[in-house]
């Protein structure tokens, strides 16, 4: 229990985020995973995305999906 690495509150939060997203959208967590993957890969074809920090949200009213896709290149350009 003590050496599992990730703290249980982070595991809970990650699971909840996926669960709530799929509940709100009315689709399965698997489908959601595929959708996320597709969005990231299509954007990545044009510009490189910092995949570690990608975040998806769905508001309930009005129902809107928001994808937060931080860009790698822009960050680098900024530091040049």
């Amino acid at each position: 229990m003590f050496f599992r690495g990730k703290k249980s509150c982070h595991v809970a939060k990650d699971r909840l985020k996926v669960l709530i997203l799929s509940d709100r959208m009315g689709c399965s967590p698997d489908l959601l995973k595929m959708l996320k993957k597709d969005i990231i890969s299509s954007v990545s074809r044009y510009i490189s995305v910092d995949q570690e920090h990608v975040d998806f949200r769905v508001s309930q009213k009005p129902p809107v999906i928001t994808a937060y896709l931080p860009l790698k290149e822009a960050a680098q350009r900024f530091h040049m």
Binding site: K7, C9, K17, L19, R57
Partner: protein, 259 residues
Amino acid sequence: MSEVIVITSGKGGVGKTTTAANLGAGLAMADKKTVMVDTDIGLRNLDVVIGLENRIVYNLVDVIEGNCRLKQALIRDKRYTNLFLLPAAQTRDKSSVEPEQMVKLCDDLRKEFDYVLLDCPAGIEQGFKNAIAGADRALVVTTPEVSAIRDADRIIGLLEANEMTRVHIIINRIRPDMVKNGDMMSVEDVEEILAIPMIGVVPDDEDIVISTNRGETVAGQDSLSGRAFQNISRRLMGEEVPYLDIQGKKRFWNRLFRK
């Protein structure tokens, strides 16, 4: 300027009834004439939590069906003279009441009281629909657990779909020691996930169990949970109250949980 507030959660056992009882006591202590309505028809509990179970003669369904006058069904609290309970019927079921009848009841109660607190049953069926029908605002009680938060999100969606615009969350049974160790989601985590403004945090507290055993409320007592509930009552009345520093009570908490 009276207000009808529904206390709901989706999931059962997260503390709706305890919250209703303690907010009722908190508002009554602030000289607000308050009525707590148990809308959990068939599974009434608010009466026993506040120790009024032996005084019930008439109930909510009797009022709605016209078997008695509203005032005959209201039970005055033992401690606070401006706190009243309208108990649920125990031998009926949720379908004995329609949302329109609840709206009418809430409007009748508005004339008499400053605050009407509706203790909502668990679930999202008829009982929930009845409870939210006449309310101006909603308090969604959750605990920092995945199941409770998931259900709270579902409830928030349903409230929004029913044009309820004033929705706040109460995070109940938080354990600062576990949050500190990374084994319980923090207040910030829950707020981030639900994306709804919070109106209060109630620490997990042995005093709640002890008070409920006795049929008393913790609001007004010198315990962390008692102060937390009293603060929420004040925020309901529009006061700006700083949040309790539950982490600051580290020694107190360590003493409680060191076994």
